[in-house]
């Protein structure tokens, strides 16, 4: 993975010094909270229910064992012994004190990490394919470009005070594993007919309260020009994106208002001036950065290990894990292992300090000392020898990291919700636990097959519920109770779509039953080997809706009148807390 040189280190160290001084000025009253707010946000520091929350960037999800141990250290020393991995491949700590945060950032800088631009109206941490470099379907390794974009966007002077946050994702496989159509800019690394690398550039996607699938602005931008092209997109957005209304400030609204053709015209008029200028990427630079992402010294190994097959026959658990959590690697004899942070009953994405230390050791012993954080809130060991799978599985099982549910219904993506977030209308994590427990039976789970379930505690959509096959959102109604809206038909990847709400919303306790009913319709209607999303696309929403609302729900004591089903799904627009 990438290693800082003296320039990278100096920039991060100077940031720590600057931030330390900002905290000093805040604590002494020299800075008002209002002035301090954007400064702390650009270092990833939010004020949340339990105090300060720090979001630390894991650039494109790639992390070394040493860095993971630093997370464990931070969890122990400054927090309550755990951290939360997010859908943006970052980690969040929820229980920090402001006074400690300069030291935390200094600790992070000592292992080449930071919280720069993980929040605020700037270019955020760049996300990418968690299988980059090892996927069988890879066209171009996106990691060197992700690193170059990270450096380019770090402290970009012109784009630090954009109308709103700005998220860039980059994929490099035939299949998009980075949800690029749901980002402000999505880049698909591809090759043209001459075999030259470049990018399909997608712009104006985004979730939040107005979900939009991004539009292709240019089918092919040669790799040399990607920085200047992105710069021009940002310049047009910075000047013309709406600033009068926070809810309409994302680039997707501007692209919709202008239309993609007019937006493109403006971008390309700006770009004409930059193209081939000094901002153009050089072959030397891409080679330099790519030198950090070369293959490890792979051994020559047979692609099938007979021991594995024997063990598989003996152990159903192992065989389940192998088929769900182990993915094919592009090198024979190797495998990609996904460590599940979704054991039913646990908060999706949470890991304890012990688990962090433990996975760091696993990475050292089994996978070249590196890990990845997935946008589905799991961890990946990308370079495991197949012959090590049995011992790896045995060890990881002892730490509850082998629940064989990757891609299954209980691999739930969830935002932190009401326990941690001031914007929440709903308890996302307890709901995720309740649903996961209901579907714990593995035979049932496997019969249902590939499906995604995403939960967001409010319209902001941090749990990306719009692109879940099943999406659940917490909504607030006039009575200020928590209500849950259920939608189906969303998807990410090459065939992205936005889900649609099935009807009136539900109470907390009803949701697992609602999911059960949706699944029932799917199992009844599906063709052989048809996935949930394909069935929804084929038969439409009506049969699902009909079955879900056909019969009442077991009455809860305090809501025996069943008003929840009758109430229309309109609700008060949740507010943004003035603190953000």
């Amino acid at each position: 993975m990438y290693h800082y040189d003296e320039y990278d280190q100096q920039i991060v160290d100077e940031r720590v010094r600057q931030y330390r001084d900002q905290v000093r000025r805040r604590l002494s009253g020299e800075l008002t909270e209002q002035e301090f707010l954007p400064l702390r946000l650009q270092n990833g520091l939010y004020m949340q229910i339990h105090g300060y929350m720090l979001r630390i960037a894991v650039p494109y999800g790639l992390i070394s064992s040493q860095q993971m141990r630093m997370f464990a250290h931070i969890a122990r020393k400054y927090d309550r012994g755990y951290g939360h991995f997010t859908t943006r491949q970052n980690i969040q700590f929820n229980w920090l004190k402001l006074q400690d945060t300069p030291d935390i950032l200094a600790d992070l800088a000592s292992v080449q990490m930071h919280g720069i631009q993980t929040s605020g109206n700037c270019v955020r941490n760049i996300t990418s394919d968690e299988f980059a470099g090892v996927a069988q379907d890879e066209v171009v390794d996106p990691r060197p470009y992700a690193e170059i974009l990270r450096q380019w966007s770090t402290f970009h002077p012109e784009f630090a005070y954009l109308p709103r946050k700005f998220k860039i994702a980059i994929s490099g496989g035939k299949e998009d594993r980075a949800a690029i159509y749901a980002h402000d800019i999505g880049l698909a690394a591809i090759k043209n007919a001459q075999g030259e690398a470049g990018f399909r550039v997608v712009v104006g996607g985004g979730l939040g309260r107005t979900p939009v699938i991004g539009s292709v602005i240019r089918e092919f931008v040669p790799w040399q020009h990607i920085l200047t092209y992105v710069e021009s997109i940002l310049r047009i957005y910075n000047q013309y994106g709406r600033r009068d209304n926070k809810y309409k400030a994302r680039i997707k609204i501007l692209v919709k208002a202008l239309g993609i053709d007019e937006f493109k015209r403006q971008v390309e008029a700006d770009w004409a001036d930059l193209k081939d200028g000094p901002g153009t990427l050089t072959g030397e630079e891409i080679n330099r950065v790519a030198s950090f992402f070369t293959d490890p010294a792979y051994e020559t190994l047979p692609d099938h290990d007979s021991k594995l097959n024997e063990f598989k026959a003996d152990s159903r658990s192992f065989s389940n894990w192998l088929s769900r959590n182990v993915k094919p690697h592009r090198i024979p004899g190797y495998a990609i292992v996904v460590l599940s942070l979704k054991k039913p009953g646990n908060a999706p994405g949470d890991a304890t300090a012990e688990q962090m230390d433990f996975v760091a050791d696993l990475a050292d012993r089994y996978s070249c000392g590196e890990l990845r954080i997935t946008h589905k809130q799991n961890l990946v060991l990308a370079d495991v020898r197949q012959k090590d799978l049995i011992s790896l599985w045995q060890e990881a099982s002892a730490q509850e990291l082998t629940t064989p549910n990757i891609g299954m219904l209980t691999d739930i993506i969830s935002c932190p919700g009401a326990e941690f977030c001031t914007l929440a209308n709903a308890r996302s994590i307890p709901l995720a636990k309740l649903i996961a427990e209901r579907f714990e039976n593995l035979d049932y789970l496997y019969d249902i097959g590939e499906i995604t379930l995403n939960i967001s505690g409010c319209v902001n959509a941090c749990g990306q519920h719009h692109i879940g096959n099943i999406g659940i959102t917490g909504v607030e109604k006039k009575d200020h109770d928590e209500w849950y809206q259920v939608s189906i038909g969303g998807a990410e990847g090459n065939d992205s779509s936005i889900s649609k709400i099935i009807g009136p919303s539900f109470t907390f306790d009803q949701v697992p039953e609602v999911i059960e009913r949706l699944i029932h319709v799917y199992l009844r209607e599906r063709f052989e080997a048809e996935s949930f999303i394909d069935t929804v696309r084929r038969i439409g929403h009506a049969p699902f809706k009909e079955h879900v609302y056909a019969t009442g729900f077991a009455a809860q004591e305090d809501e025996a009148d069943g008003k929840h089903v009758v109430l229309p799904a309109q609700y008060e627009v949740p507010y943004y807390s003035p603190r953000f």
């Binding site: 900002q22 450096q151 012109e158 005070y161 310049r235 901002g279 950090f292």
Partner: protein
Amino acid sequence: MNMIIKNKTIVADDWTVLRLQEQETPENVIVAAGKVIVPLKVWQAQRAALQDRKEIGVWLASDERPEELKGDIEKFSVIAVDFPKFSDGRGYSIAFNLRARLGYSGELRAIGDVLRDQLFYLQRVGFDAFAPRPDRKIEEVIKGLSDFSEVYQTSFDQKLPLFRRVQRKANEAASSQ
């Protein structure tokens, strides 16, 4: 006299910034004699009278376009860009466009909600003068110019990205393999 930051030092400044009061319109406002930085709209409305002044300045609001000054740029001793709130980042692109696209080479001044922690970025996009918010100590504000000693990307101040300026390290492990 006001103090401002100019070319990285604190200096006295005898320009006044004209802001329209209620009742005043670009057409009827009286521009005092002496060194005045007028709003773009006033410049446009009273151009005939103002253009003969020996020294005149103009300022742009964050929703105004620098291209409006095309052709006139040489006439101004100073162009200012107003930051109604420091978090309104349009002024950064206005400055970049004024410098890089319109070729303005005179004094470019940031006015309005100008605070220490934005100064580093402001100087990068082409501002060389800063009138900090009056409630701030200018000796503190000026420190913001030197928060960082190295930058990655091009902007107006730095025509070459870091990767074209210095020899950066490749992965030694990879090259020795």
